[in-house]
Amino acid sequence: MTTLLATERIKLFTTRSPWWSAFLALGLTIGFAGLVALNHNGGPLRVEHSQFGIQFGLMVVTVMAALAITTEYRFATIRATFQAVPNRTSALLAKTTVVAVLAAVIGEVAAFGSWATVKVIDGGGPELAITTGADWRMVAGAGLVFGIAAVIAVAVGTLVRQSAGAISILLIWPLLVENLVQLIPGAGDDIHNWMPFTVAGRFLNGPGPDAPLSAWGSLFYFAAVAAVLLLAAITAVNKRDA
């Protein structure tokens, strides 16, 4: 497994898109935190103010993770991969792991970077200190959410095999579908309560009184959705001609 992980690490970092994505994710998230801090007046800045832009990073990382697998299909290097590692399940798991770890690292850097930026600009009162469990979840939890989101993205990328399709689904789903279902009279809110990215958001921002799951329960649910999708992707890869 270490060999496979090393292989996937080399593959990922010898193309340009992960570098670009990491740069963009950090730039957008931390830059946005800077904008918030610079323009703030009235009331002390709280930890949550520093994390307003975290979704930028999340979306960019999702795109990066999907591209990591769809470009393999695009350039048919997936065939070379499966020639080198005929056990497709391990190959895909190794890729997923490497991508998820990178995503998690980007998430942590983005979250703490945003927080630090706000602290430097604003000086930082006691409200900005990371003290409670909720504070820690909000900042340090970003890496976990990024990592799991990357697993979802790799799974969708594997299933769809096409950059354009995978990215459209991965962006339209959390940004549009999850929000619009709320509008359905009656059932809308109940459906919305179980939408994966919405639930993941509750892990970061606190579950709130109406949420069906606790904070960690929310994260677990998000991870379970990712695991199911990954399982579907692994099944598909093993059944399909490469």
Partner: protein, 255 residues
């Protein structure tokens, strides 16, 4: 005219425009049907605005379709075959943008009137007659916004040349950047008022007699300061400028 026919042939002899059209219509009209089916007289009344809730679905799918129309040309290098046949690159690209925009507008009109029509069929007792100028804009205006958005998408596609990049920029801009900008203290709201897709929304959601309107009755209203038609003109102006930049870049760049 010849070039329009060329681009029409090119667009309709590949599969993605058909798929995107189908998905856009199904999602939009399907959502319209969902809204109609679940509406209730007192809690969530069915209004013309409410039939158009799914309009954003169609919008993003149409933008993906428009971006793909040009990025796949770069992907498969058919852009070179195009520029060999039509060395005047601006003309070729204007023809493409026109064809894509017209298709997008037609999809928009079908989606909007389809959503409205299906709601009427499902709830024949609710008064859904299109009477006021606002109601006409809320339905018929969808095609205009889709058409202009398609030009924006083609411009972004020409500039970035990659499907993944263009789609990511368009969707993240439209769905994430514009709403998140509002979170910036002090200046956020002022910036948001002038962001292109928010401005475009004004045509659909603007001046609906706000005093009686509940959020549940239609897509969230735009906070753009322009009136509905000037807002559309501003959006069109934005599209034209962006497309102009794309033409200059494509003309100077090696194909």
């Amino acid at each position: 005219m010849t070039l329009l026919a060329v681009e029409r042939i090119k667009l309709f002899t590949t599969r993605s425009p058909w798929w995107c059209t189908l998905i856009a219509l199904v999602l939009t009209i399907g959502f319209g049907a969902l809204m109609a089916g679940t509406s209730e007289e007192n809690i969530a009344p069915l209004t013309i605005a409410a039939t158009q809730f799914g309009y954003t679905f169609g919008l993003v799918v149409v933008m993906v379709m428009a971006a793909l129309a040009i990025t796949t040309e770069y992907r498969f290098s058919t852009i070179r075959a195009t520029f060999l046949a039509v060395p005047n690159r601006p003309t070729a690209l204007i023809a493409k943008a026109t064809v894509v925009a017209v298709l997008a507008a037609i999809v928009g009109e079908i989606a909007a009137f389809g959503s409205w029509g299906i709601a009427r069929l499902m709830k024949p007792n609710v008064d859904l007659a299109i009477n006021t100028a606002y109601e006409w804009r809320a339905v018929a205006g969808v095609g205009l916004v889709y058409g202009i958005s398609a030009v924006v998408a083609v411009a972004v596609g020409v500039l970035l040349r990659h499907s993944a990049g263009a789609i990511a920029v368009l969707l993240i801009w439209n769905q994430l950047v514009e709403p998140l900008v509002q979170l910036i203290p002090k200046v956020g709201d002022d910036i948001h008022k002038w962001l292109p897709f928010n401005v475009a929304n004004k045509l659909i959601t603007g001046n609906p007699d706000p005093s009686t309107r509940d959020v549940l009755q239609g897509p969230p209203p735009s906070d753009a300061v322009l009136g509905p038609w000037p807002a559309l003109a501003a959006f069109a102006g934005f599209a034209v400028v962006l497309f102009g930049i794309a033409l200059v870049v494509a003309n100077r760049r090696d194909a």
